[in-house]
Assembly symmetry: C2
Homo-oligomer: 255 residues x 2
């Protein structure tokens, strides 16, 4: 069972798009996949057509211990892909948990009950390094870092790497960075090419060979509540996420 957090505090780099579509491509290859929406914006939930009202069972009520996770998980439109959705009330968790000792392990506890059933658990993190992202880092074993091939991409990375190191030494020895994924890449511009080279210089082998190219079909798919494999299975976006999936699966034997 691989539990992977997809995180980067820089906003709009392709975290949610990667969780939704990598999840769908892994399911297409026969894996049992759970995607978890740990971002109060609830974009991942909407990507699968789930729009929860305040108070409905969600990751929020699961992390507060009010609902059992297996009662909240839903089947998506894709065979082999299930989702643990969230609502906006998740934003309040930071304040509510702030005094408790076990506040970093609320998500880990919740996911433990679900892990037997799934080959992959992919967690979509919010654009910050706050309590929700820390919770997801405590629950995960692997970190994937989506990055835009644009100027601000490298700026926040130092802080993200320091946070991963801190979580690993303090609370989760298993956590490691599997790789950096170039997203929304527009190979026509020199800026994108130069930034990609820069990323490879920084990360060496820990950069996925697959690059996700900019492709408007990826931005259209969530409007229909579908991953790219259902919305437009032959487009560049689907091809790129399938290439990434081949790389991710190839790592399985090394686990």
């Amino acid at each position: 069972m691989r539990c992977i957090i997809i995180c980067n505090q820089k906003g709009g780099v392709g975290k949610t798009t990667t969780v939704a579509n990598l999840g769908a491509c892994l399911a297409e290859r026969g894996r049992e996949v759970l995607v978890v929406d740990a971002d109060p914006q609830a974009n991942l939930s909407l990507h699968f057509g789930v729009d929860l009202a305040r108070g409905e069972p969600s990751l929020y009520t699961v992390m507060r211990g009010e609902d059992d996770p297996s009662d909240v998980v839903r089947q998506s439109a894709v065979e082999g892909l299930r989702i643990l959705p969230t609502g906006v009330d998740l934003a309040g968790l930071g304040v509510e948990l702030s005094g408790e000792r076990g506040r970093l392990f609320a998500l880990r506890g919740a996911l433990e009950k679900l892990q037997q059933r799934h080959d992959y658990v992919l967690i979509d993190a919010p654009p910050s390094l706050g309590l929700l992202t820390l919770n997801a880092m405590c629950a995960a074993r692997e970190v994937f870092i989506p990055m835009q091939t644009q100027f601000f991409a490298l700026q926040g990375l130092g802080k993200l790497l320091r946070t991963v190191r801190k979580v690993r030494s303090a609370v989760n020895k298993r956590l490691r960075i599997t790789g950096v994924l170039a997203c929304m890449h527009d190979s026509r511009t020199c800026l994108a090419q130069e930034t990609l080279d820069e990323i490879k210089k920084h990360f060496g082998r820990r950069v996925f060979k697959s690059v996700i190219r900019k492709n408007v079909r990826l931005a259209e798919a969530p409007g229909f509540g579908l991953p790219i494999t259902e919305y437009d299975p032959e487009c560049h976006g689907a091809q790129d996420y399938r290439a990434l999936t081949r790389e991710v699966i190839a790592m399985e034997s090394a686990e």
Copy 2:
């Protein structure tokens, strides 16, 4: 003196790009402008070539009362445009201020001392609705909401509007939403056009007529520490931000 927060909890929608370039275009029209970096990612500071080390005087030390704001403000490469930069240590403020009664007014107090000198203060907010964004909403009189013309754009808006309403009724009666700005608009795709129509349906007159088109020069400029008016003054990006500036200035007499 107009104090404007540029905010949207959705990540990567053009907040920092708007603060930097609207600021530069207002300065070009002879206004005295201060841009404030209230995002721990410090992208706005970097956009003007300022890269602070931990512990250096910054917005963080100003909000903790350790430094006087006028000692931290710097002149930018642009005549009439100054910046109050930040470093990554700003991320820790949430926890440090969490117990104090006046925690929502730290930024407002800091900016009060600077307001005499400037015609415009533009505050760049992080991609969240946490303490730093609330602080900036308490300090500001106006809210500009940059939005990408993509599917997720409208999803988080309800929460943002509720937060503005709460801040207005509880702590800052002056706060009002001036307008929504369409950013990174790619008029070749139907998705962008449909989303823009949707935004106009929701917001009516409170949508700026100017639309910021997708333009790679806007993404290149921060790599040189320059706003678009200095980096490529004739490109689409500079034209669009100048058009926005004309609209913003035209509102001045209505103030």
